[in-house]
Amino acid sequence: MSKENQKGKTLLRALLSKNELGALLPLVLLLIVVAFVNPNFFMRRNILDIMRTASFSFMVAMPLTFLLASQGLDLSVGAVTSLGGIICGMALKAGLPLPLAILCALLSGALVGTINGFFAIKSNLPVFIATLGTQYMVNGFIAITTNNVAISNFDTSFKQLSQYRLFGEVPMPILYAIILAIVGQIILSKTRFGREVLAIGGNKETAYLAGIKVNQRRMITFIATSVFSALAGVLTASRFACAQPAAGSGTELSIMAGVIIGGTSMFGGQATVIGSALGAILLATITNALILMNVSTLWQSFIYGFILIVALYVDKYRRKVLSGE
């Protein structure tokens, strides 16, 4: 084997060892295609728009990464996003100051997270169905309390929360997401908590026998997921100065898809926060790029699904090469 060949192989292996490849490769390919069709795509304003879209889903995707890493699952994140906005809106309407209103929203998220955690951990119900149940109940709760009418008429300070642009350019949600990405990745890869969550996902029994507080760690991941979903809801409400009863409905599966495309294993044990960010960016880019390339929206679902499958294949191939089979 020639030396150059060897070098190439080492490079390939190094590339393949990156969990994030499943999101990165389709993203790069997509960018190359768009660059040819419509270079306008790369205008700063458009990139910021895409990043803002991705930021909202990443806010949920970040904690969801931890949840999936510990072999959990949560289908109620979309409903809790709506709930967060609504609770915050109702609290503001009731005359509470903004920080307290946000706190109320986060607490409502924490409550739902605790319930999900209770179902999954203490009662050992199948999470897929149990969190679907919570999703319905939360949506029902919103319908009952608001009669599905949006809450608007907020004053400007609330809007600033996500409408303010840093240096007149960068929307705040992007800043929040960057902070979350850094903090999340550090927690995942540098802290005991992150390692323990991964260990639980890798093998719950082994982790328990090694003295890890399995139930407590799992509970934290459930609660964090719901709290951040509620936060995303607050920020969405702030963005439109309007808390919509269905602000987050239907987002759960695409957010989860982004996390998995990003390289977090559905079977637990392996996760990357940066990958989840890339996954969110990829999904936001697809929607945006299709419009910029003037591809009919009728194609959108198809292409979305197609890229998802491509990403899964990249990931599968990667794992196969790495495990030496």
Partner: protein
């Protein structure tokens, strides 16, 4: 022990069912259907429907899917109502083919029907916002707002697969061409009732087609998203957004100058009059095949009068 409890529950249920059937046996059972519960549009519809049932002393019930816009569940609800012995139905037809069997059953059982939604051979009488009329009215509203400016418009539906909305958009485009042959429809989009998606997509559309200067919403939250786009880009006065329905957030956008007009459907009237028409039918009166519950173009100047007339709470 378990068996005894199960038996007791069964007996109890049977009894209560019989009692309920007896108690309401003489009342006219009237079912109405919609794609969601509450909300600015359907909430008004429900109010009108229940008000009319109360006036007539009918036993009215509004049914809708547990998840918004779940069409197959909507079809099943029609079926359930027929099995429950409905006397009057206000069916909401969203797909003629898929619902043909169910509606045929209703016809066979002699159930009085006044439909909302699509025209259907099984239902001789319809009330509601006529899709064609609505589309045409929106086109007229847009042309009025645009004055002598060029028109490069993007439209946003809930989902492209929504037959009724597609009919509206088609009628909109046709009428627009009649009024302004030079007008260009830049793109048809869908936003799944998310203001966020609406705003993001509009930004991309404007980048891809910089000539775009107006936006028409066929989805209740698309207008809010577009108005937010106008606000964030500082395009007040340069970019025209037409919303749909009289949701408070739309009216507020108009007050702030980010939305030019909204076209309201008369949801309360629709719910109320549907029941009244059905009552006329039962009493052997003649009613027109199509009753348009009407639409109204609301301009910023009309807001106060409208709010008062409809009893809306601008502080909600």
């Amino acid at each position: 022990m378990k068996k005894i409890i199960a038996m007791m529950i069964a007996v109890f249920m049977l009894l209560s069912f019989c009692l309920a059937a007896n108690a309401e046996g003489d009342k006219v059972k009237c079912y109405s259907f919609g794609v969601m519960s509450g909300g600015p549009a359907w909430g008004q519809y429900q109010k009108g429907f229940y008000a009319a049932c109360e006036e007539l002393g009918w036993d009215g019930q509004y049914l809708c899917p547990t998840t918004d816009n779940n069409m197959s569940e909507l079809f099943n609800l029609h079926d359930t109502a027929i099995s429950n012995g409905a006397d009057v139905m206000i069916p909401c037809v969203t797909d003629n083919d898929a619902m043909a069997d169910i509606l045929q059953k209703a016809v066979d059982q002699g159930i009085t029907m006044v439909g909302i939604g699509l025209t259907d051979p099984h239902i001789p009488y319809l009330i509601g916002t006529d899709n064609i009329n609505l589309g045409r009215t929106i086109a007229e509203a847009l042309v009025e707002c645009m004055g002598d400016k060029e028109i490069h418009v993007a439209t946003m539906q809930t989902i492209l697969a929504h037959t009724g909305q597609t009919a509206q958009v088609d009628a909109f485009e046709a009428r627009l061409k009649e009024l302004r042959p030079d007008a260009e429809v830049v793109r048809r989009e869908e936003c799944n009732s998310s203001a966020q998606i609406s705003q993001d997509k509009l930004a991309a559309i404007c980048l891809a087609n910089p000539q775009t200067n107006c936006f028409v919403s066929f989805d209740c939250y698309a207008g809010l998203g577009a108005a937010t786009y106008v606000e964030s880009e500082g395009l007040q006065g340069q970019f025209t957004v037409i919303g749909i329905d009289d949701a408070v957030e739309n009216l507020r956008c108009m007050q702030q100058g980010t939305m030019a007009a909204t076209v309201a459907q008369m949801w309360y009237k629709m719910g109320h009059d549907a029941v009244m028409l059905a009552n006329d039918l039962r009493n052997g009166k003649d009613i027109p095949a199509n009753t348009d519950s009407g639409t109204a173009i609301i301009m910023p100047d009309d807001i106060d009068a409208w709010v008062e007339e409809m009893g809306l709470d601008m502080n909600s």
